[in-house]
Amino acid sequence: MGKVTFDVDNCKGCGLCVLACPKKILQISQDVINKKGHHPAEITDESACIGCASCATMCPDCIITVERE
């Protein structure tokens, strides 16, 4: 079981984490806008996360923290 946390206000919505996720449980939010004015990334199904850190490996802005139980 994994857990990802996003530093939402520093996300630029580039979507590289969405591409990297092997479980396809990340998406770029359509209704949230952060401080910078971007649509940030968000997780759709927290229970499916395996904590592989692929999203964080590809994140150019270091805004993802990954924990594993």
Partner: protein, 251 residues
């Protein structure tokens, strides 16, 4: 248990890079390597001119800002002033290293200067708005080559790793990219080796990282990563171009 967080060698300052720019990934890899080798206190970074001109804001180690292209010369001075106690790296783009700084780069390599160079090759001038760089591909559309790079008029791209590998000087030359998770891990191994070479006093290491520039290429971040695979890697093949220590062992 935390398996991934922002490395300690990066400050809290958010990167100013465009969305999807892979500069951020390479900054992080350098910071992770500095953390893992435990050399933050004695590392001095040399920032270039270009998009990564403000790299000094992002690393917690000491940083110096060099004049355009002169980072290897500044690094040489810093390293020679106190070779035992300092680890010196430069972080340069292609407009900096392969254009105005070509002389400094080639001579630092030829002298086998004991420094580490991280070279970001994104085939375009990023900061100034997308002009043709020495590394722009044949036929590539840029601000100054709107009909595509014409090799009859503008010449051919410079392949830095291949060029330097002809010299007897440099210790380690490798070309990597960061357009997928596997490639990022490979890039980190290369960067770590480049720093380790310097700690072991082996000499000049240069890691060329094929990077994306979604804004100036006029692509989405996703398409830009794919363009590295489709257009850049065929022209700039990945791999180790020189590893003198390994060659000595074989001989």
């Amino acid at each position: 248990m935390v398996v991934f967080e922002k490395p300690k060698a990066l400050t809290d300052v958010p990167f100013h890079y465009c969305p999807g720019c892979t500069h951020g990934i390479v900054h992080r890899l350098v910071a992770e390597v500095i953390d893992e080798l435990g050399i933050e206190g004695k590392t001095i970074g040399i920032a270039p001119v270009g998009c990564s001109v403000m790299a000094y804001d992002y690393f917690t180690c000491d940083m110096i800002e060099a004049a355009h292209g002169r980072a290897p010369a500044v690094a040489t001075g810093v390293k020679r002033a106190d070779p035992e106690n300092h680890i010196v790296f430069t972080y340069q783009g292609d407009g900096d290293l392969a254009s105005i700084g070509m002389a400094e780069t080639v001579h630092a390599a030829a002298r086998n200067e004991n420094i580490t160079i991280i070279f970001i090759n994104n085939a375009i001038y990023g900061m100034t708005g997308g002009q043709m760089a020495p590394t722009s591909l044949p036929g590539q559309v840029t601000q100054t080559s709107p009909y595509g790079r014409n090799t009859d008029l503008c010449g051919w791209p410079i392949k830095v790793c291949e060029l330097l590998s002809e010299l007897d000087g440099p210790e380690y030359l490798e070309r990597v990219t960061v357009n997928s998770v596997a490639h990022v891990r490979q890039a980190k191994r290369a960067i770590k080796k480049a720093f380790q070479n310097q700690i072991d006093n082996k000499g000049f290491s240069l890691i060329e990282v094929l990077s994306s520039c979604p804004t100036n290429w006029g692509m989405t971040p996703e398409k830009a990563l794919k363009w590295i695979d489709d257009a850049m890697i065929p022209y700039y093949p990945l791999g180790v171009y020189k590893d003198r220590s390994a060659q000595k062992k074989e001989a």
